[in-house]
Amino acid sequence: MAKSPDPERLEILQGTLDMLILRTLQWGPRHGHGIGQAIATHSDELLKVETGSLYPALHRLEKRGWLASEWGISEANHRAKFYRLTAAGKAQLAREQDRWSQFVHAIGRVMNPAKAGKD
């Protein structure tokens, strides 16, 4: 039943979706569809978020207080739920960005020990 994945497309790393959502919302409130689009656009269409993961993630973040939501009218004149970053969400984004940098760094050292050794 599952479609064969686009060979060009990258799987979103587990645990990074939350960070991507938070980051996307730094540019201002968006509805779910817009967030998905934004992630795709900003990643040069390399990352594609499945709706099946996006919406549960949005609700999860809202529940934890990192996002707030309100109903509004979309550009296409549809009722849509807009999410925005809360103060706590901003702090969380900062934390996740730090962790991500550390993570990238660490992975880099493992994958490229010669270069890392000179660090």
Binding site: M1, G34, Y55, H59, A80
Partner: protein
Amino acid sequence: MRPDERDLDDEIRGHLAISIRERIDRGENPEAARLAALREFGYVPRLRDEMRRVWYSRGSDAMLDLASDVRYAVRALVKHRGFSLTVIGVLTLGIGLNAAVFTMVKGMLLSPLAGVANSGRLVVLYGETSTGRQLKLSYPDYRHLRDSNDAFVDLFGSSLVTINLGRGKDARQLSGEVVTGNYFQALGVRAQLGRTLLPSDEATPGQPVVVISDGLWRRDLGADPDIIGRTIDLNNVPLTVVGVTDPSFHGTIVSYDVEVFIPVTMTPQFRFNFERLNSRVAPAEILSDPYTYILSPHGYLRPGMSLAGAAAQVDTIWAARAGERVAEESPQQLRLSRFWNAPTGGQGFMLPTLMVLSAMGLLVLMLACANIAGLVLVRGLSRRGEIAVRLALGATRARIVRLLVIENLVLAAPGAVIGLLLAWRSIPLLVGYAEQMAAPQRIYFNIDLSSLDLTFTAVVACVCALVFGLVPALQSSRISLVSAINEDASPRGAARNRLRTGLVVAQVAVSLLLLVGSGLATRSVEAARRADPGFDGDRVAAIHFDLKQNGYDEARGRAFYEQLLAAARLDPALEAVSLAQYTPLALIDSRMQRVAVEGYAPRSGEDLSFMSNTVAPDYFRTLRIPLLAGRSFDDRDDEAGGRVVVVNHTLAERFWGSADAAVGQRIQITGSDWSTVIGVVADLKYSRINEGPRPYFYQPLTQHYRSAMILHARGTEAVDVVVERARRHVLAVDPQLPILGAKPFVQDTAGAFIFYDLTAFMLFIFGAAGMLLAALGTYGLVSYTVRQSTQEIGIRMALGAGRFSVVRGFLARGLRLGALGAVLGVAAAFLLGGLLRHVLFGVSATDPVSFTQALALVFGVVTAASIVPAWRASRTSPLNALRHL
């Protein structure tokens, strides 16, 4: 803020709208855009579920799923009403029977005594002679033990006695306990009025006080609120009522309803007939004689004390004391046992019965489960389509198995509830049945439904649901999508066939086991009823009285007996009359007496204590007990004449080789002179219908005066007329004498049959339930197998096979399975037969008749189940059968 369902839907709808709009803007046609957007979105309900799940904690999330599964299950089961009702019916039967048995077993093991907390932990002490005979303890022994042990919190003693309440015509017999002063305190039983007995009542000998049961207070004393301080007459002794026990308390003798509690130190005033070896102990010596065994000591172990530890301590205490006395007549060893498996009291005969019933209950339940597993399996086939769709929509196998299991639990729940109700309603019925059979003696069973039974039933129901549901559920979930899409609904999986075959074989085996069990039980009851007890009690009246109750001394008593017998003998309507102290088949070993045989040197440790009876002339003629040699008692055997005795056949053979050789020999009963054997009579069943031959002897009333006797009168008319006639003869001699019982003789011996009747009755119910289940289940499965082969039948017939050969083929297949099950069942019945040994009478556990009956029934069912559907299938036209190929 937690979004509600509408919010979730709106959000999804919004997303789709935007997505569709974008696609249309890009130039796609609206319909294609809509489909693409939907495809991209995925399975909406699942997404909504997941979003919702975010907002609910893990637990309530599972609850949510559970609730929807349960809802779905209920809907599905309501839709398939026939299936559901069948399963509920089958389960009700299985669970109900088990709940009933469990309630009884629990009552026996955990709380054998009503109104006593923790009575399951009570420990009983009893003595054993060097020959292994079990004895109670004498009062001095009890006191010694009580005062020198520290294994028990408090050691109390009690003994069951039969007492007459009231005087004159209104007197009646009831069960009482003589108890030590610490009895109520040790048991933790309170008085609802007044006080219980106290150690001070024991310390002061001859305190004329009594505590009565709630039942006695309400039934006989009109629940008189001022009862405390009043006196009641027990065995003609006025006793002051000091208390009424808690309504829940019925004494400590299993299956007896004890109505009065008397301090043990009052026993000298009462002249109870205690089991003892000395033939005569002066009443004043009852409490000091070390050979008068009147008390059964009970107690709770101290915290931290084990049964073995207590036994070791008691052994040490006893070692010094036992050696001083005659080894065959006194307790040489003290034994400890938990109350529920003590060899004394009602436990002894209840326990084997309950074990058999438990085993039968389990079999019925197994059968029920196998039955339902078959039904669920068959139903699983018709649901293959549904399950395939669920799998295709992305449901996981675990989820489907869970749904099916929940469905089975939902299915099991009503069965459990109705089963429990059934047990709850049927237990009083059963107990009532037992009480009715035991009438006029009052009996009492501590059986009530508690939360423990509810738990047990719930657990049984769940286990059942898992057992009957899980295997078929796993099978159903293992559907390949390909075959489901091809709509191939025919059950060709080898595993499925194996399971079904296994179920048929198991059902045949288990039902055979049940049928054999109930067949054996039914036949043993028939045997017990047909068994020759050695006497003929038809048309014999038994009138009980005790001359002491009207103040007779021995001289006046002798005159009374002479006058009574003389008058009754003149009555033309009475064929024969006599007097005896005991009736046979009374379930107790009446009066064991130790004897010495002239010229016989007993082997060391040989037990020469035998049961005996005291009778008037004509006793053997009255009960039609054959005289084998010599003569019966007559008027020659008076006080002046030499002491004489009549022995039974077993005793004569044991010591002298034959009946004829016994006449003229002499035996000495401990405490009296040598007696000459004047006659030998045939054996009877003396206390139980299933006892083996045992030595027994009779002493003449004229040489051994007793005040409590039973007039036996054989008449020519209906027994009720005879009873009335006999009663009038007694009252004609003394109109003031209390008649303690006037009833047909066979009523006195009916007690010996109660437990056979009860056990057989229950085994019959279990057998009937098992047979019903087995017939239904076997028929259902076998006929289903045949129905599944409709196509095969079609092909065969299309190829020219005759109807008979088709049917024959299926019959052979069915019989093969039946034979396999039967072999297993018979083997199991042989192995488990030993369990039944204790409750069987007159049939062996391998009784061929019972086995044949069971086999015939089982094969009858299998044959019918194979032939009927095959015949029906063979009548459908081959074309019709082949159409779905």
